[in-house]
């Protein structure tokens, strides 16, 4: 067993950390207040190759492994959650979904521009009336000759107004005895006639990001835009979540680290009762817990990343990492605010933003409650991983870095 990161991993970590600290940290408060995404973020992440980090070079990516993806997410969210959200939807949910399920033609056509960062990806699963209850999806896709006609609305979609390519889940068979089996997945280009979108404002957190709705009104897409088989949509969506949740877990770990670092700095500086508050035991207890949460979350997500590298199924491990890290990131942020006292309650310090940003991750990509059901299901033997027709490919450095 080897717990050390490779020199490659360490350099990736430093590169992304430098980018986030130097270019985003100084301006993030301003954009968080404006409730808008800073316009340079996506093109800059594309230019630096971050948007294609773990996609094979022959599909336009950078050929790094899945652990690198986790490290990137940790570094990004240590500065702001909205940066990591980009990776969750563009990479975890959309690009990796196409990598796993797409045909060679689909990869060439859709994955290459996504990995190069020429286009941005999003994931259209959640609807106004269907969140955790995926089987309640009301969007439809009707086959007409060589085309599908899409209708319906997706809600709470990250990068809704920025994405060019959306992995869209809709009902193709309303008659399916099990409604899960009536769903199919599609690759939707947002410049098609009938697609409209908008951002949602007034969110508690992730305010410097784009979250919105996408509406399809009689949108015609060629049949070759279907990802996987008809009726495979639920399985595809769930496998995408195995990747999306991994990025959320890694990111939440970064958020815990940010809370810990901010708290240590403040506790050493702020004095009460004649000494730095870091010398008071109840403050120390909070710092101790944050350390525990950080280290544990980190081990959990790195194990999930290792499993991905090996090509092993990781639904259980990823879900556990996501549940623990997101719950603990909210708790860490709350304790960080407590340590900062009244200052922590104002936006003079970053910790109030951490608290607001942490809350959402307990809801999106499977609520904490859904993760608990998954864990209980495995432990009680009620849930078993069914073999998928296509698994996420194991990381193979040679294949990943081959030019063609």
């Amino acid at each position: 067993m080897d717990f050390s990161l490779s020199p490659e991993h360490e350099m990736v970590q430093k590169m992304v950390r430098d980018f986030a600290r130097q270019e985003v940290a100084p301006i993030i408060k301003e954009w968080d207040r404006k409730q808008e995404m800073a316009p340079f973020i996506l093109p800059r992440m594309a230019e630096l190759g971050i948007l294609g980090v773990c996609i094979p070079v022959r599909y336009g990516g950078q050929g790094m492994d899945y652990i690198s993806l986790g490290l990137v997410c940790e570094e990004l969210e240590a500065v702001d959650t909205t940066l990591r959200v980009v990776m969750s939807v563009h990479m975890g949910l959309c690009s990796m979904g196409i990598l796993q399920w797409g045909t060679e033609e689909q990869k060439q056509k859709f994955l290459v521009p996504l990995a190069r960062g020429e286009k941005y990806g999003a994931f259209g699963l959640t609807e106004p009336g269907a969140g955790s209850d995926v089987a309640a999806i009301a969007s439809t896709a009707r086959r007409e000759g060589d085309e599908y006609v899409l209708n319906g609305e997706k809600m709470w979609i990250s990068l809704a107004t920025k994405a060019h390519t959306v992995l869209w889940v809709a009902r193709t068979n309303p008659e399916a005895p099990d409604p899960h089996d009536g769903l199919s997945a599609f690759i939707l280009e947002t410049d098609r006639p009938g697609v409209t979108s908008g951002d949602i404002h007034g969110k508690l957190g992730v305010r410097a990001g784009s979250t919105g709705w996408i509406h399809c009104q009689d949108v015609r897409i060629p049949a070759e835009n279907r990802l996987g088989e008809e009726g495979e949509g639920f399985k595809i969506a769930m496998s995408c979540l195995d990747n999306g949740r991994y990025t959320v877990a890694a990111g939440a770990t970064g958020l815990i680290r940010a809370c810990l670092e901010a708290s240590v700095a403040y506790a050493n500086e702020r004095k009460a009762f004649g000494r730095p508050i870091s010398r008071h035991q109840l403050v120390q207890q909070k710092i101790a817990y944050m350390t525990q949460w950080y280290e544990t979350s980190r081990l959990l997500y790195l194990r999930a990343g290792w499993l991905k590298n090996q090509g092993k199924r990781n639904t259980r491990e990823t879900s556990l990492a996501k549940w623990f890290a997101t719950d603990m990131s909210f708790q860490a942020a709350s304790e960080a605010v407590q340590i900062h006292g009244a200052y922590g309650y104002s936006d003079e310090y970053d910790v109030e933003r951490y608290l607001r940003n942490a809350r959402g991750a307990m809801i999106y990509e499977g609520t904490s409650e859904i993760q608990q059901l998954i864990q209980a299901g495995y432990a009680l033997g009620l849930r078993k991983d069914a073999t998928l027709r296509k698994e996420l490919p194991a990381y193979d450095p040679e294949a990943w870095q081959a030019e063609a």
Binding site: S6, P7, E8, M11, V12, K14, M15, D18, F19, L48, G49, V53, Q62, G63, M64, Q401
Partner: protein, 260 residues
């Protein structure tokens, strides 16, 4: 153009420096490419991109992984060379300049050598000039801009950043250029570069490889090192009913404290 960039591995500047038993300790701070050298590497890469050729990163340091060379390679340097020898453990800049000059001669023919203005650990800031002297080349220090570069004609014109202003200097090539942070915006390493840097075998040259038998003992010794006394600062708010009154009180206090 054959370009050499001399770099150094230093502790991260975020580290806390302490003095332990008369020696400087950086604790367990991570090692990084000397921040000033990032500008030198960037300028070497920009020069190569504009005029073609190759960039070799050169350093002197202990045997083993070298963060400065790895970073230079990850940013895009073509090659890297580590000069390492047990005899260099206590080297001062006179010795280092001799060794680096020999290394540059071994890479001949070299057109341009870049240095950062100084290193964040020892801060001598003279190594570039010393190397130039050893090579018998012109030294262009504190360079904030390269106005013209003519590899064929063998000339370079730069702007030096001085306290009084900028000084335009022309010289022939080959030359040694040490750069300041105003000259460019260093790039981040690319993922491709990172992969290459992590895998490439970096050649190690010993003194014998450079044709040096002995380097002598350092001319500079550090008999004592101590941390600067801790400065206790306190913050005092000057209050008053009107800005005029506050300003008056402030001026009085500043005179009283002999600040003005």
């Amino acid at each position: 153009m054959n370009i050499v960039v001399c770099v150094k591995q230093t502790p991260d500047t975020a580290a806390t420096v302490t003095v332990e038993d008369g020696r400087i300790s950086w604790g367990d701070a991570p090692l990084v490419l000397n921040p000033w050298d990032e500008f030198a590497v960037e300028q070497a890469l920009l020069t190569k991109e504009a005029y073609g050729g190759k960039v070799t990163a050169l350093t002197m340091g202990p045997e083993g992984p070298n963060e400065a060379l790895k970073m230079a390679l990850a940013m895009g340097a073509d090659e890297a060379v580590l000069i390492s020898d047990p005899a260099l453990e206590e080297a001062d800049t006179l010795i280092a300049s001799r060794v680096l000059a020999k290394g540059i001669e071994k890479l001949a023919p070299v057109d341009l050598v870049f240095f950062g203005r100084s290193s964040v650990d020892s801060e001598s800031g003279v190594l570039g000039s010393q190397v130039a002297r050893r090579l018998g080349w012109p030294t262009l220090s504190l360079v904030a801009a390269i106005n013209t570069l003519d590899p064929e004609g063998g000339s370079i014109e730069v702007e030096r950043m001085l306290e009084e202003g900028r000084q335009v200097v022309r010289s022939k090539l080959p030359a040694v250029v040490s750069v300041v942070k105003e000259i460019n915006e260093p790039r981040y390493p690319s993922f491709m570069g990172i992969r290459r840097a992590a895998r490439v075998e970096i050649p190690l040259w010993t003194l014998a490889d450079l044709g040096l038998e002995a380097v002598g003992s350092p001319a500079v010794a550090w008999p004592e090192i101590f941390a600067p006394p801790k400065v206790e600062t306190s913050c005092e708010f000057i209050e008053g009913d009107s800005p005029r009154e506050i300003a008056k009180k402030l001026a009085e206090r500043l005179i009283e404290e002999k600040v003005i």
